[in-house]
């Protein structure tokens, strides 16, 4: 009995030091701050939480792909640019070309995945460092987005041959993705984010390639010598990251009712921050998708609490930076 007691104590102690507990701790701290600085009760309204979830969904979708890549021991800097490229493509295809929504979605997903696979091949086949390869893809995709959009925002204002603009009705898919469901209690983009989380979770924990992703991040040489198809798995991880970028791009276009070639600048940094705050190691081999969710929520709540308390953007950014460091230091402390 005493022995069992000690065992369960050890188990609890071990859990308290686990990444999950630490990430949860950071989130709880932020949440309690929200309860304290509730902006005259605004924090107690569900709509505040719903809007926060809506605001972080696009970042969260990017963070899903980023998690896969970071667990392999890599990094993907191209996510913001691929988001912009696919947002522009989606707007062009649906608004200007009048292509049906399902077909446009498939095409955009293919574009995103192709960009990711491109980086993945550079990394896996030609042994270019992930930082460099995805940096190049970041610049390239941004350029491609500008090329196909002519540097213009692709909106519902369509330029006619005579130079005048005529306004067209936004396709239904835009309004649908930008709407709220379940009695206006949850945004559609948040549901999309949830689906991305579940896909990533299944991949990482239930499927063979997921196990290989961890093995490669943990010890690439050992994985290769165990017959793991390292190149294919890495390419898959970057390809999926590109695919998630396309999903995020479509959501972004719907929310803004336009495809902006300048969209998504520095989003990669937010996505990386969310993954790291969750406790997934940048060295690879450790981490998980639910940790990333905790990281996403931590940043989301922090920003929301600051904004409902009317803290200016300047201070908001400074505080966010400080919190990232605090959260990561918290993750690191031992004993």
């Amino acid at each position: 009995m005493i022995y069992e007691n000690a065992q369960s104590k050890i188990r609890i102690a071990r859990w308290l030091y686990s990444p999950t507990a630490r990430a949860l701790g950071a989130l709880v701290v932020v949440f309690v701050l929200g309860l304290a600085f509730n902006a005259d009760g605004a924090f107690f309204n569900w709509s505040t939480h719903r809007d926060m979830l809506r605001a972080v969904s696009v970042y969260g979708i990017l963070a899903c792909g980023m998690t896969l890549v970071i667990i392999t021991g890599g990094i993907d800097l191209s996510v913001g640019s691929i988001l912009a490229l696919t947002a522009v493509s989606f707007s062009l295809l649906t608004i200007h070309r009048g292509i049906s929504a399902p077909l446009a979605i498939v095409l955009c997903l293919l574009i995103g995945a192709a960009c990711g696979v491109g980086s993945g091949l550079l990394i896996a086949r030609f042994s270019i460092q992930p930082f460099i390869a995805t940096l190049a893809m970041m610049v390239f995709a941004r350029g491609l987005g500008k090329l196909i959009s002519g540097g213009q925002k692709i909106s519902t204002a369509v330029q006619l041959p005579d130079g005048n603009y005529s306004y067209v009705e936004a396709p239904q898919i835009f309004t649908f993705l930008n709407s709220k469901v379940a009695g206006d209690n949850i945004s559609v983009v948040t549901l999309v984010f949830l689906v991305c989380l579940i896909i990533s979770w299944i991949l990482l924990t239930k499927l063979r390639p997921g196990r290989y992703i961890y093995a490669i991040g943990g010890n690439e040489a050992a994985a290769r010598l165990s017959g793991v198809p390292v190149s294919a798995v890495k390419t898959l991880a970057y390809g999926l990251s590109g695919l998630f970028c396309a999903i995020a791009g479509i959501c972004q276009a719907s929310q803004e009712l336009q495809g902006d070639p300048e969209a998504g600048v520095a989003y990669e940094l937010s996505a990386i921050a969310m993954v790291v705050i969750g406790g997934t190691s940048l060295r690879g081999g450790r981490g998980g998708i639910w940790l990333t969710l905790l990281g996403v929520l931590t940043i989301g709540y922090l920003e929301k609490i600051l904004s409902i308390n009317a803290v200016g953007e300047d201070k908001r950014l400074m505080l966010t930076g400080a919190i990232i460091i605090a959260a990561v230091l918290f993750q690191k402390t031992r004993k």
């Binding site: 924990t205 239930k206 499927l207 063979r208 390639p209 997921g210 196990r211 290989y212 961890y214 093995a215 943990g218 010890n219 040489a221 050992a222 994985a223 290769r224 010598l225 165990s226 017959g227 793991v228 198809p229 081999g285 450790r286």
Partner: protein
């Protein structure tokens, strides 16, 4: 003259361990992996400072809070793993962390001069401005030793310093130890090699499970007694090779070459041919640089397109293009460095065990955790793996048990051919014995085994046949009966030896 005595609380890794070290003696610390030797010397060296007990250095009690503090008192520790920065020069490495300066600027010339002088005193005359990574592993180890030696050493701790060294380098190292001894240094020496213990030790302290078992003078202590202290039981036979009935040829290698990509026209492995039959253990002898590890890697497909020659497995042609194909063809390669390329340290025992055979546990891509665990449990039982739980990350296991996990991974692939590169490196006596018995069992099942080992007695006892390599070529082949230590060494050094 020092008197050291300490206990380490919290998780009880050491309980009331103590011993004395006299100046001018070599004191061997012996014991199985996990006996607490490394913890003990880390306490001495200032790596851990949360312990109870007392250390006396001469008459004064000391308690080091950091490695530098211990170093300042003349305590040098040479760790098992090298701590050199590859791209930095030899001189920069030797002075890393204690650079000499003139004002704000680094005094490079005087550092280079001193580094060279210190290396020469160890019998190593090399260009100290070249990056460390340019030198072979043996030389790097000597540089490491040079780096670790404080100018006025009183105590030197060496943790398995010879594991990466060739025979002549080991001799050189022993020469240095002799010199240091005569200068009045106390040397604590940790090793798993029986020959080294008897060659060097003045006195021996044996630890087991964090406890002090015995301290005795080396002269007059017999081997059986020592082993008994270390394992706590008697091993009646140190190397129990049971010859199995050999069958058909399972692995045939003909005119096998590996090009050296860094030096044009040179070969790492040069025109090697051999055969291994089912149930046979073929030993490969050779010194560092003989190309024997590269040979196994080449057969396993790690050199991709730089190999030529023919390989047949069970009579069928096999092209060694990548490890994945090799695993599929029924080859398993146990590499000589489990940390570097054998295990995924973050993953648990189950995940490591099934890593090379995961397709069988994931029909349609979906993992079957239950059958994975069942398979790992079966392997763990037959290998006598000691672990609290199979969910334990392998980084928390002792060396011997980690090695068993690597073995489990390969046996799980159900191989036809087992390539074993130093299967008992860094493994304690008890686990070694178990690995020998496993090798017997595998050969009885008809697996063809190729064995590389640097421990001559192990090679002689376990191999049915021995080929010797020197600079990428086979220089001799011996039958089990005709092989002797002297003949093998001569052939490994490139001399012509009649079989």
């Amino acid at each position: 003259m020092d008197r050291i005595c300490k206990a380490f609380s919290g998780v009880q890794v050491l309980s009331d361990v103590g011993f004395d070290l006299y100046s001018g003696e070599v004191h061997v610390l012996a014991g199985e992996n996990g006996a607490g030797k490394s913890t003990l010397i880390k306490i001495l060296g200032g790596v851990y400072d949360d312990f109870t007990g007392q250390i006396n250095l001469g008459p004064e009690p000391v308690r080091f809070k950091s490695v530098n503090e211990a170093f300042a008192k003349g305590i040098s520790i040479i760790h098992q793993e090298l701590s050199l920065v590859g791209p930095m020069s030899v001189a920069e490495n030797i002075f890393l962390g204690r650079e000499k300066t003139r004002g704000m600027l680094l005094d490079k010339t005087s550092m280079a001069k001193q580094a060279h002088k210190r290396l020469v005193s160890l019998g190593l005359d090399i260009d100290v401005s070249r990056p460390v990574a340019d030198f072979p592993l043996g030389t790097q180890q000597m540089i490491e030793i040079c780096k670790a030696l404080a100018l006025d050493c009183r105590i030197i701790v060496m943790d398995e310093p010879t594991s990466a060294l060739t025979e002549p380098e080991v001799e050189k190292l022993f020469g240095i130890i002799e010199k240091l001894k005569n200068q009045g240094c106390g040397i604590i020496y940790i090793t798993h090699k029986m020959e080294e213990i008897y060659r060097l030790a003045d006195r021996i302290t044996v630890l087991r499970d964090g406890r002090h078992i015995a301290t005795a003078a080396a002269a007059g202590l017999d081997k059986e007694k020592l082993i008994q202290w270390m394992v706590g039981r008697e091993l009646n036979q140190q190397f129990p090779r049971h010859l199995a009935k050999t069958g058909e040829v399972r692995l045939e290698v003909r005119n096998f070459c590996i090009r050296d990509s860094s030096r044009k026209g040179r070969h790492k492995v040069d025109n090697v041919s051999f055969r291994v039959r089912a149930g046979e253990i073929l030993g490969i002898a050779g010194l560092a640089g003989s190309g024997r590890s590269q040979l196994l890697g080449g057969i396993f497909g790690t050199y991709g397109k730089s190999v030529t020659g023919r390989i047949k497995i069970d009579g069928k042609q096999f092209r060694p293009v990548c490890p994945k194909k090799a695993v599929k063809a029924g080859i398993a390669l146990l590499t000589n460095d489990r940390k570097e390329n054998g295990l995924v340290m973050e993953m648990n025992i189950v995940q490591n065990t099934t890593l090379a055979s995961l397709s069988g546990f994931s029909p349609g891509g979906w993992l079957r955790p239950k059958s994975e665990t069942a398979a790992a449990a079966k392997q763990a039982q037959s290998l006598q793996l000691k672990a609290a739980s199979l969910d334990q990350p392998v980084e928390s296991l002792s060396g011997g048990n980690q090695q068993k996990v690597v073995i489990a991974k390969w046996i799980q692939t159900n191989p036809a051919i087992l390539l074993l590169d130093e299967p008992t490196r860094g493994v304690d006596v008890g686990a070694k014995h178990e690995i020998y018995q496993l090798m017997n069992a595998w050969s009885q099942k008809g697996i063809a085994i190729v064995l590389i080992t640097s421990e001559m007695p192990e090679l002689l006892a376990m191999s049915d046949r021995i080929i010797v390599m020197h600079r990428g070529r086979i220089t001799a082949e011996f039958s089990r009966e005709s092989a002797t230590q002297e003949k093998i060494l001569a052939a490994a050094m490139g001399e012509k030896v009649p079989a």
